[in-house]
């Protein structure tokens, strides 16, 4: 552990602080904080990573520190970011959990109500109830994610929202008002990346692409489904290439390659045209349905799958299929926007 390690920790922290500071004061503030940290570390016995981490811990999270410079200024830095900051994330998960529980309770009570009134529940009602619940959860999660990202874009607003959450949690006795034990400062430096998840994912991608290819040769898909199969094959083939490249990069450098990861995250974009077309022609969607056969042997009856048959979606489910495709399309577009914004926000500075 050298003073170089300590300096790299300082610069990493200051880099984070800078991101949330207005441009006109950033240079001065950063230079002043740097001098302060070095002075104090020397007073504590030397510029070591341990001393620096203690000082940074006392300074607080970068975003919070920067927000103190921003509060009360006429011109505030509002950086629109799709991505929930670390300190807001627990509140996002709590809110989401509460809403998901409410949606599930609503769905269960609706099923119970239909049982109470009609005597029995048709499978179609059950399926559509489950599907609508899932769709509702996805919509709520997307909107909540965007809302928390917007809140996180303004450090001042984020602090206010956190205070509101703290008050609510305290009033329910979920959070203690006082913490006597000082948490130990966390190490900011990143661990060496592992190449093995890339190897695993590349293998899995090859298998999936092959299965998709085999399915395409076994069944007589229409144009829409063939388009989907080819999209899947291209996606997983490209994913394999990128994962293999990433594997060797990580193996030799010990760090992830930003460009490869970014391109890989963006690849979901190739599903967008298919989702768009499928949304226009949902009646062309095909599903594989197993054909059952009852076999009686020694007074016992067993069911076996005789064959798989290709059929179009029943008319009753067309609306539901269209809705699911629409949600999927929205998720894909939002996902791509999030990936691009995160890349712009976190791209390494040379």
């Amino acid at each position: 552990m050298s003073s170089e390690d300590a300096m790299s920790i300082i610069e990493e922290y200051l880099g984070e602080v800078r991101r949330y500071l207005p441009e006109d004061i950033a240079d001065d503030v950063i230079a002043e904080l740097r001098t302060h940290i070095i002075d104090k570390a020397e007073d504590m016995g030397g510029l070591t990573p341990e001393n620096v981490l203690t000082i940074l811990h006392n300074l607080g999270p970068p975003r919070k520190l920067a927000s103190k410079y921003v509060v009360g200024r006429g011109r505030r830095k509002f950086r629109m970011e799709l991505g929930i900051p670390e300190d807001l994330y627990p509140y996002f998960t709590i809110t989401l959990a509460v809403l998901v529980i409410a949606i599930i309770i609503g769905a269960i009570s609706s099923i119970i109500q239909s049982v109470a009134s009609g005597g029995e529940v048709a499978i179609s009602i059950l399926v559509s109830e489950v599907a609508y619940t899932a769709v509702s959860i996805v919509i709520v999660a997307i909107f909540l994610y965007i809302a928390f990202s917007l809140i996180g874009s303004s450090p001042e607003l984020a602090e206010k929202v956190k205070a509101v959450f703290r008050d609510i949690m305290e009033s329910f006795g979920l959070r203690k008002t006082k913490k006597k034990v000082e948490p130990k400062p966390k190490r900011i430096k990143y661990k060496r990346a592992s190449p093995w998840p890339d190897a695993f994912s590349a293998t899995l991608s090859v298998i999936i692409a092959y299965i998709a290819y085999r399915i395409n040769t076994l069944f007589d898909f229409n144009w829409l489904m063939s388009l989907l199969i080819y999209t899947i094959i291209i996606y997983f083939a490209a994913n394999t290439v990128l994962r293999v490249s990433s594997f060797f990069y990580v193996l030799y450098s010990g760090a992830r390659n930003y460009i490869i990861d970014f391109v890989r995250s963006l690849m979901g974009i190739i599903f967008i045209p298919w989702l768009f077309v499928a949304n226009m022609y949902p009646e062309e969607l095909q599903i594989l349905v197993p054909q059952m056969q009852y076999v009686t042997q020694d007074d016992s009856q067993t069911v076996i799958i005789k064959s798989w048959e290709l059929m179009t979606i029943p008319n009753d489910y067309l609306l539901l299929a269209k809705l699911v495709l629409l949600i999927w399309l929205i998720m894909a577009v939002v996902g791509i926007i999030i990936v691009i914004l995160r890349y712009v926000r976190t791209r390494p500075k040379d």
Binding site: D28, E32, T35, K40, N58, G60, K68, Y69, G72, T177
Partner: protein, 116 residues
């Protein structure tokens, strides 16, 4: 039943300290030009543990005082290191001269009530 008022106490202390700190920082700067870390050390030493200020609070406070025109700042080299030195302005001095007598009266008044 246990009454937990630790949160209220902390909040009250924070509010009082926030008001006093501005005056204390201006008082220190009225005697000498100082840099941020120096101010925090003096506050810790003379403040009897009550005026100890977090660095994450002091530097934004100095920045606010500068924006409001109570102090001015400039980079200067000292012992081979560049440091941002703060100096009280005429506006800061005028503010200090106005709040000092009030503070002295306040302390005497609170003391009187305590002794009553």
């Amino acid at each position: 039943m246990q009454i937990d008022i630790s949160g209220d106490i902390k909040r009250w202390q924070r509010e009082i300290r926030r008001g006093v700190l501005k005056m204390c920082v201006l008082l220190l700067l009225s005697k000498n030009e100082m840099y941020g870390y120096e101010i925090s050390k003096v506050l810790e030493k003379l403040g009897n543990g009550v005026l100890k200020i977090k660095e994450g609070t002091l530097y934004p406070l100095l920045r606010r005082l500068e924006n409001e025109g109570y102090v001015s700042a400039k980079w200067m080299f000292h012992e081979g290191k560049a440091r941002r030195y703060y100096k009280i302005t005429m506006k800061g001095l005028a503010f200090l001269n106005a709040v000092k007598p009030f503070w002295q009266k306040l302390v005497v008044a609170v003391e009187s009530i305590m002794r009553w």
